[in-house]
Symmetry: C2
Subunit: 214 residues, 2 copies
């Protein structure tokens, strides 16, 4: 079996889970801790070499503060759990902001725990624009100015991406305009396009909540 | 109904379609022309304001030349068809390379055709790295150096992204490391994580061909 060398984990649905259980939205996050550790151990067994967890983003911190507090606490606890594993651990995110928890500052340089077998990256107060802005170019320091530096600057943010042919990947398609896009995959090959495909995609899109990362 | 303002179209599966019909792989591309025009007209009717078509990429041009010739020809014809529509049309891609068809150079400045109602972007010899490299920063001119300018430079290319909670989007997750990643979506919420989810994702990944955009 071909095993991915590096997997990205987007552990979404904590708030919806809590609501379904009749709990407060913010109570969902701590229930994501055990899954994160279980997943780590499974990947270790399987031999996956690198895991990146999507903790929280700069966008997420705009949510109600009771939620921001809860997901921050869950991330701190998750990192502490991972320190007891054989992990080479890096916490990555914008430490210049007050939303970055001081408890995690010590993990922002990669450290080896135990045998350090699995490389673990944990994103905390991460921002895609922040990530690109380390460059020495002044134009990259501001989100709107960054968009202007693209050759594709005349192409706006994409709401919905429809891909024919069943593959579930971007293949390098406009990485900046797609940061918040919804993806809809159609299994049929493109030459077999039918209007129905577009209608299906639009019906599906109509039911998605649009948060632009928030 | 909430209609997306801008949709991205990844018209994949032309070669697989041709193979299934007992044709040569390269014969699939011209069969993608009518679908592209049909889709444009549907979007126009529905009131979608902007469409971006993924024509071909700099990565794609590394394929056998008979295929590169065929998809280039199909893109030239597709653009010519769109010129007869009410489109504000831009062809975007790296014109410095000999893989950019000279027939399309005249469309690399946005032009209004008919009433110009729908904004159409058609990517031809596009590259995600090329797109980011217009910046004045020298470090962005080379793909490896660009990766080094990221805050996340210690995080490698991601093979598989698994998202829980049913949403089909990246939400700003590492846009550069995910340009070629395969996405697997699990409808269950993250607190309901089960080992089976990971196994399913890995089984699915095992069946994907990995082309890194090629």
């Amino acid at each position: 079996m071909r095993i991915p060398a590096h997997i990205g984990i987007i552990p979404d649905g904590n708030r919806r889970w809590a609501e379904n259980k009749g709990l407060l939205k913010e109570e969902g996050y701590e229930r994501g801790l055990k899954p994160g550790l279980d997943l780590f151990k499974l990947c270790e067994e399987i031999g996956i070499k690198e895991i990146t967890y999507y903790g929280f983003t700069m966008d997420n911190t705009k949510r109600p503060s009771v939620q921001a507090l809860a997901f921050t606490k869950a991330c701190i606890e998750a990192v502490k759990l991972l320190c007891h594993e054989d992990a080479s651990l890096l916490v990555l995110g914008n430490t210049d902001s007050k939303m970055f928890p001081k408890e995690l500052k010590q993990y922002t340089k990669r450290q080896v725990f135990g045998k350090g077998t699995t490389k673990v990256n944990f994103l905390v107060n991460y921002g895609w624009h922040w990530d690109l802005s380390r460059s020495t170019d002044k134009a990259l320091k501001n989100q709107n100015d960054l968009l202007k530096t693209l050759y594709s600057s005349d192409i706006s943010r994409i709401d919905l991406i429809i891909r024919w042919g069943g593959r579930r990947r971007l293949s390098g398609f406009l990485p900046i305009q797609s940061v918040y896009s919804d993806f809809y995959i159609i299994d049929q090959y493109w030459p077999d396009f039918q209007s129905q495909h577009l209608y299906e995609a639009l019906e599906w899109y109509n039911k998605q909540d649009i948060t632009l990362g928030g």
